[in-house]
């Protein structure tokens, strides 16, 4: 479906700018993809939000906060703390159901999850 749409756009552009027929080699619609996923939230934006939550979390030492941090190993949180942390993150983005919340154990996993949700902000 997207391929057809992009071909149509490509052909419209080609016809508008060049009167002579030219072989299409670029697909404009696909070339517009960027790495922030469907909801448009950029990796660094989500990371900043998460870091802010981690900063305000009284059980976490600031020097341990990093984008590669594992909640239990780097930040010393147990599973109860992790649930509380995820609730704080929810305030920023999306409501996270129990099943998903129990699976998120690192900063990277959190970012991936939020970027994967269409309704995140």
């Amino acid at each position: 479906m997207f391929r057809l749409a992009s071909l149509r756009i490509a052909s419209a552009r080609v016809l508008a700018t060049r009167p002579t027929a030219v072989r299409r080699t670029v697909m404009p619609a696909l070339a517009l993809r960027w790495y922030s996923a469907g909801n448009g939230l950029h990796h660094s934006v989500v990371l900043d939000q998460i870091f802010q939550v981690l900063h305000d979390f009284d059980k976490i030492h600031k020097e341990n906060i990093s984008s590669g941090a594992d909640f239990s190993i780097a930040l010393g949180l147990d599973s109860l703390d992790t649930l509380k942390l995820i609730m704080a993150i929810e305030a920023f983005s999306v409501e996270i159901p129990d099943e998903d919340a129990m699976r998120i154990t690192t900063v990277a996993a959190t970012i991936n999850y939020i970027q994967g949700r269409d309704d995140a902000r």
Partner: protein, 83 residues
């Protein structure tokens, strides 16, 4: 610490704790920290004394915990003190 293959029982416990956290969010702001400390303490004291294999004991505590949550989450309960 945990390889993240949570047993059904572990998930139930986490679910109960999460429901407690959600109920705490609805409490008045001044007393939230006390409710949070209370919930945390109730879970901690049993985590220390139980083994993962004490299935019957864990199930019993989860049932009791769920019932207490239902009582404490009433909006009439506005603060909590630990003696």
């Amino acid at each position: 610490m945990n390889p993240r293959k949570l047993s059904g029982l572990q998930k139930d416990a986490l679910r109960l704790y999460r429901d407690c956290l959600r109920a705490i969010e609805k409490k008045p702001e001044e007393s939230r920290a006390r409710f949070q400390a209370f919930a945390r303490h109730e879970f901690e004291k049993n985590i220390a004394s139980l083994r993962r294999t004490d299935v019957k004991a864990i199930e019993h505590l989860l049932r009791v915990g769920r019932r207490r949550l239902e009582q404490y989450q009433s909006p009439n309960v506005r603060d909590i003190t630990i003696v």
